[in-house]
Symmetry: C2
Subunit: 352 residues, 2 copies
């Protein structure tokens, strides 16, 4: 990290009061990100409050279009509308943006990066780097080594997603509804269209014209962009389950060349960011219960699928707030430092 | 039901004190099954107790090898070991058995029947008819019309299964663990190998040599037997979710001929036992919350899968204790009456 050693490196977390924003500050601190100054931004509603950064507290500043002067790197997690509006101004001020929203992910100018998978895409960044959707991140770190070895052709994935994917309000909804049910009180749906406690909702994000949800199409489109191979076809069904932390995914992968379950286990145990946790005889398989608060993507239940030629089934679990959001964004920031890419070449690249 | 009109029809429910046994008695009563006498059996531990049958109460009798004299029909839900031991004696006494356990399902002598799908298989019964696994029943009523129309070739299914599939003790485990967590007490795993509250377990029934669970292989093998077509290939991942009643299934189906989502909706809306509940714009899709206590199999989220030629995605939900167990068994009994098949042709068919 030669660039940052000898000069100031002011870092901003935008959306610092949300679940992911707080986790970003924690992750930046825990991983000793070489910031010389850390600043926290949020909407005017939250400005003036405090957020923890290690043993310190940062005073939350109001996010404005002219907030970014003197800031080298901003990590955004304030929703798509804020990213669309403020990220171009950040770049204009010479600040590199790592954006956790969906706003810029499919923009051709913006690399969509999982550092274990496609760090080289960072080299062509123009000021905004997009952090993929949580469900996408955990599947691509597993698909990548399989793709390199055997050429992935088709992926059928069904997800079991935690309420923390919706942020703090999702966590509160599941907690409140569960408590109400156990106290024989009526439950209220404030966040989700139907009750989530003791239920499963096959509905995450909004429905699109093709009857898929936006969440499902994120998995389809982002996976292809990250693997950089249009020959990879993905179809997804995304469901919300009454779990607080940790997304699980049941994944069926078809490849051009055959991979045995044994070979897949070897490949995956060598893959960065992946932990193979697969010993059914000892009742060891990935679960949200064990993945919460952990960095790696866990994969288990690896087995050959006899219904298709050259197909495998797997079960993938990761903490959706960590590797699925904050950790991946910080890893991108680290990789930008390592590659000496914390600079903006065209300040007007994203301004109209 | 001409056979049963003019003579006695004594019916026994074996395993009458369990969750499914009680539901069977309720279903037999609610659907006005033409029994002239109803009897309830269980292990010696439960003998002497009472179980409800409509407004009456039945005294539970101890199940013995010589219990079946004078009984025309016995519906078993007492576990595989009891079925293996007692069903042959029932047949020997001239009693036709509808068995809810896995014990006889793959036995070539035993039809495996979902009345909406393969009632004609009943015609060749030899005394024991097997009721399929809950997860299988709800998928085959949906696959059948698609198979008839377009020839199903491959099915990739991931399940979201309720704790009631494990019986009353599964329900109690989820309830107790949830309550303990909300009272800041340690949780205890009595029924499942790991905590089920706010977690997902990719593990139902025991693991087999091929690293699939027995539950997953039931779906694979039973589906082929019921559809009576070895060209249908199935692969399954079965997971337990913290839901009390109602199994959900995310299903990807590949067919020889193309079916549009629209055609599938028309076909399925005409299929017996199936309700198409599929209006994403109005946030209408099947969920365990709505399926609990209901008879039909609900299907929604029907959409074409662009990752494969001639493939569809669907989301299927049913009450696992009703259509998944008790109701299907009673429907088999009704069909046996309607087809005048409540008789045993070879009393020794299943005795060694």
């Amino acid at each position: 990290m030669t660039t940052s050693m000898n000069k100031t490196l002011t870092v901003a977390v935008v959306g610092a009061t949300g679940a992911v924003g707080r986790e970003m500050l924690k992750t930046l601190h825990d991983r000793k990100f070489p910031a010389t100054c850390m600043r926290a931004f949020a909407s005017v509603r939250s400005a003036g409050g405090k957020v923890p950064y290690g043993d310190e507290e940062l005073t939350v500043e109001e996010l404005r279009e002219d907030s970014f002067t003197g800031i080298s790197l901003a990590v955004f997690s304030a929703g798509g509308a804020a990213s669309l509006r403020f990220a171009p101004h950040a770049v204009h001020a010479g600040c590199v943006v790592v954006d956790n929203s969906a706003a810029w992910r499919m923009d051709e100018r913006c690399p969509l990066v999982v550092p274990e998978v496609n760090p080289e895409h960072l080299d062509r960044h123009k000021g905004i780097i997009a952090n993929p959707n949580c469900s996408t991140i955990q599947i691509v770190v597993v698909l990548k080594p399989l793709h390199d070895f055997a050429a992935v052709r088709r992926v059928v994935v069904s997800t079991y997603q935690a309420v923390s994917g919706t942020g703090q309000k999702g966590i509160e909804e599941l907690e409140r509804q569960t408590r109400d049910l156990f106290n024989a009180r009526d439950t209220e749906n404030r966040v989700y269209p139907h009750r989530i406690a003791f239920n499963v909702l096959p509905h995450i994000d909004v429905f699109l014209e093709n009857d898929y949800t936006k969440e499902e199409m994120k998995m389809v489109n982002e996976t292809v962009k990250i693997l950089d191979d249009p020959a990879v076809k993905v179809t997804a069904t995304c469901a919300r389950v009454p779990v607080f932390y940790g997304h699980a995914e049941s994944v069926n992968v078809e490849t051009v060349r055959k991979i045995s379950a044994k070979e897949a286990r070897v490949l995956l145990s060598q893959a960065p960011g992946v932990v193979v946790y697969d010993n059914p005889r000892e009742k060891m398989y990935p679960m949200p219960l064990f993945a919460g608060g952990e960095d790696p993507v866990y994969v288990g239940r690896i087995r050959e699928d006899e219904s298709g030629e050259n197909a495998l089934n797997m079960w993938i679990v990761a903490d959706n707030v960590r590797k699925g959001a904050a950790l991946n964004a910080v890893q991108i920031a680290e990789e930008l430092c390592a590659r000496d890419l914390l600079r903006v070449t065209d300040n007007n690249a994203f301004l109209q």
